[in-house]
Symmetry: C2
Amino acid sequence: MARPADPKARNSLLHAARERFVQHGLKGARIEDITKACGLSKGAFYLHFESKEALFGEVLQEFGERVRELLSKHKAEVIEFFKTEGVPTTDEVHQQAPRYLRYIELSGKSNLAILELCWEYKDVIHIMVRGVQNTAFEGTAWLMLQQAMAHLGHQARVFAEKGTIRGEVTAGLVPAVLVGTYSMLCFQMIDMKQKPDFAVLAHGINRLLYEGCAPVAHHVASSEYEKVLKPSLLTSTEDCGLWAEKTKRRNS
Amino acid sequence: MARPADPKARNSLLHAARERFVQHGLKGARIEDITKACGLSKGAFYLHFESKEALFGEVLQEFGERVRELLSKHKAEVIEFFKTEGVPTTDEVHQQAPRYLRYIELSGKSNLAILELCWEYKDVIHIMVRGVQNTAFEGTAWLMLQQAMAHLGHQARVFAEKGTIRGEVTAGLVPAVLVGTYSMLCFQMIDMKQKPDFAVLAHGINRLLYEGCAPVAHHVASSEYEKVLKPSLLTSTEDCGLWAEKTKRRNS
DNA sequence: AGGGTTAATAACCGACGAGTCATTAATTGC
DNA sequence: GCAATTAATGACTCGTCGGTTATTAACCCT
């Protein structure tokens, strides 16, 4: 009884929009360019989407759900591991004990999954980080990074209590290192034509981090340590307010 | 013979502009708002600056010079250290030997200086990263990050050759960890009202990184390692093209 | 075939903001 | 005080782009 819409029009618009957003940002991308790329007119866009922002919001929602899903799964796995196997001790880290290595493997698997997801949505990440000036999505990326850091900070605290992480390495530093590193990897993805071997990277990062955080082995003379380093560097080991405040700023 | 310009007008504009840029981005900040904040009219802006972009370019230039200065100074210091003291060995890292600790201290000092500089220009950094969509400065931040990674990658390679960094931790990973971590710290600065104790952080990061990268101690049974971890995770230790290509994209 | 319905078009409107420029105000030297 | 000069003003132009809408085209059903 009526004229049906081109079944692939909506999808085509979505695709073209994401592409333009990467190139010019959410604000910089012109609706007419998006529609033109699909062989449609400007008006057609509004038959399928409320606005540019609504389109991007839809994609972002999808990505967000995938991320949350992954994070809660990882959280459950870690809790399960701690419950059945316990938290690896400092010595186990130094000795490369099976329990430590199993934990690293578990952690690496989860991080690998996150990297894979980031690869799938690399354009969205790129847009979120660099393409949403003065839109409703301003700050979304930063919010997600902060959430990720909070998520990881929780875990780091467990290790800190167990003594797996030495006091010198501020507990708040661990999430920053992890999130920072993964961010760098994500930022580079947009320029890669083919997917690299994330497994190696995820694994390497975890080992680097955990072994780097491990306290100095008991058998090592700690006197050397005191002799060389200026004590002034180490007086304030508390969090120096760096991770305290839950930021709030910028609304255009 | 002529009316002199208000001597503090230019500086006042610079200051107000940076503030607005942080809040609304380079494009989103309106010239009239900037001038209004200084009690001036729109036209006055053009007596002092070619355009908004020119103003920001001036500030950025200044920041860039300070950064380059610091990096080249650090490079010289490291070269000097390697020449007079040599590169710390794996065992020295494990034993927390004086030479290793001196190197960490040197490295920490330099990173501290960088953090201090970032604090001074935290608004500029914020703008560069999140406030230059569709301007000539698009991608500047990313470029600087890449340069920093290249700079650090050079150093990491020296350590890799000496065996201080184990092959498993991809050499390219080290710069990503460092730059990523420092980026996270910089991103947080804009929301802090007072300067935290960067010395503790800079020191902690360096130790975490170097000790995390150190190969497993000789006396530790590496058989455990092989037993638990799937070999598949470790087959491709090469750079998987992640750090190869010198990106080029996005020109509006 | 043709009437009804909806997709799609493109000319149009309106807001917004960068940059201009004729005009006015302030300051200096004589 | 007055002429000369330049700072400073703000109304104006102009291009851009998001969103609207009257009109046309395509399609389905009977």
